[in-house]
């Protein structure tokens, strides 16, 4: 083939020279930064609750006591640190809450999950509860007009007991991202885990979506560390007034 510059190349065409070369795997660097001097101490809670995304994070911040910060998992990239997951413990100390509102590249998720379970040891009796949210436009069903928004669906690992009050996520719907990575890890390691996905009308949290997860507040582990109703309502108001969660175009 003669290229633009006239030399003869031993390939058919420049456009098809690359047969999907496999890029090099970049090993991301995640490190644990404790809030106190606990160093590399491993936590062994009864419950691990992980909220991924703005809506689940908003729910935990508005409904739960998250005063005791344990530390963060940060990503080191070009000598810059970026907080990926914040860890908090409940007042009783038996529940660890993790909050992640940062987008993580899918290729890095397995390394991050490995780090989470280095920090938190999940034994036979540990239960994992994952909270995620997605827009209803990504929900596949024959009767989308009949659904009242927002609504919850769940997935569970084979070790987890049945979840009677919330419908299962029906095929062909699926979960991806960090919550899917944690669920996969739990299924492979025989850990009881359940994922609750809230399908919403908007990407950012509003009052209705922040209340969608409240179905869970009557259940363990939330019922032991939830704040009183009046307190959570005033927190929701404050949360929605903050510029980051305000949905107008004119901030």
């Amino acid at each position: 083939m003669a290229s633009f510059f006239g030399e003869v190349l031993p390939v058919i065409s420049r456009a098809v020279e690359d047969e999907e070369s496999d890029d090099e795997f970049i090993n991301p660097e995640f490190i644990w930064k404790p809030s106190d001097d606990s160093g590399s101490k491993q936590f062994s809670p009864n419950w691990l609750v992980m909220a991924v995304g703005a809506v689940p994070a908003g729910f935990l911040q508005c409904h739960m006591e998250l005063t005791n910060s344990l530390g963060n998992i940060v990503e080191i990239n070009d000598s810059k640190e970026k907080t990926i997951i914040g860890f908090y413990s409940s007042t009783c100390g038996k529940v660890i809450y993790c909050i992640s509102s940062t987008y993580i590249l899918p290729d890095k998720l397995w390394c991050l999950v490995q780090k989470v379970f280095e920090v938190v040891h999940c034994g036979e009796n540990t239960r994992v509860c994952l909270l995620d949210a997605d827009t209803v436009y990504n929900y596949h069903t024959h009767s989308i007009a009949k659904l009242s928004l927002p609504f919850l669906r769940h997935l569970k690992t084979s070790k987890h007991p049945d979840v009677p009050d919330i419908d299962a996520l029906s095929q062909p719907n699926m979960a991806k991202g960090l919550t899917a990575a944690v669920m996969s890890y739990c299924q492979l390691n025989k850990i009881a885990a359940a994922l609750y996905i809230c399908y919403t009308e908007t990407v950012l949290p509003d009052a209705a979506t922040l209340l969608a997860f409240s179905k869970l507040t009557g259940e363990e582990p939330f019922k032991t560390s939830k704040v009183p109703k009046e307190e959570s309502l005033s927190r929701i108001k404050l949360y929605l007034q903050s510029p980051a969660n305000n949905q107008t175009l004119y901030i």
Binding site: I12, D22, H140, H142, L155, Q171, M174, A175, A180
Partner: protein, 250 residues
């Protein structure tokens, strides 16, 4: 590598045919594996190299009743039938960047360690990359490694994938859009593993017809089931192209 669903179960894969889809254009290989698993009623027995693929979870894609609807499915799963001597690894998401070589090595090691009979790769290539001679006739092609019987497909009248002339009389395998097909094929040839690649040229779109053709060709060769004149689609194939438009808008 392989994680069984139930740790107390053991499986004998000797003489079993291992089928793997390539993550290739139009996901034809993956769709064909869905058809095989669903129609041959294969049993899920475990997971294979889950950490090498992008994470994805859902409920059972092959459910037939409320009983088996809510069991968790991961990105890569292994299905097996000892009576039909077939094992299928279904891959539902792309490989993590840079993990292609690791996956091919893990697969060939597992193949050898468990004494599978042969490895079949179901794949597809970009239709727009066909040479002039490939534009005519059927888009279906096959390839077989040196460890296979060269006369195997003569009776079916199948066409072998043509090699590309790259000048100076050199001819090479050219498989654009085929994902790890070529790498796995080369590795199998080097390791003396019998590997047959069944593939079709196609474009992205509704690739169900290509998947059905590929599965029919495989069944023509292996005769897994004589009853399979028509293939039932799994329920997970509903909404492949999104939701239907709501009736309220009209």
């Amino acid at each position: 590598m392989f994680v069984p669903c139930f740790s107390d179960e053991t499986w004998d894969f000797t003489n079993s045919t291992l089928v793997v889809p390539a993550i290739s254009v139009g996901n034809v290989g993956q769709l064909a594996c869905d058809l095989l698993i669903h129609n041959l009623n294969l049993q899920k027995i475990g997971y294979f190299c889950v950490e090498l693929f992008l994470p994805l979870v859902a409920n059972n894609p092959f459910y037939t009743s409320n009983k088996n609807e809510n069991s968790l499915s991961l990105s890569t799963e292994v299905y097996h039938s000892s009576t039909q001597q077939i094992t299928v690894i279904q891959l539902r998401s792309p490989l993590v960047k840079g993990k292609r070589q690791t996956f091919c090595e893990a697969l060939t090691q597992w193949f050898k360690a468990l004494h599978f009979k042969e490895l079949i790769t179901l794949s597809s290539l970009h239709a727009f990359e066909r040479s002039d001679s490939q534009l005519l006739g059927q888009p279906f092609r096959y390839l077989q490694s040196s460890a296979c019987d060269p006369e195997k497909f003569v009776e079916f009248g199948w066409s072998q994938l043509e090699q590309r002339n790259v000048g100076h009389g050199d001819r090479v395998l050219f498989m654009p859009g085929g994902g790890f097909t070529k790498q796995l094929y080369k590795m199998c040839s080097e390791e003396n593993i019998p590997n047959v690649v069944l593939l079709t040229f196609c474009s992205e779109g509704d690739n169900i017809p290509e998947a059905v053709t590929l599965t029919q060709r495989l069944n023509q060769w292996k005769s897994f089931s004589s009853k399979l004149n028509s293939w039932n689609y799994p329920k997970s194939w509903s909404h492949l192209f999104g939701n239907e438009p709501p009736k309220e808008i009209f």
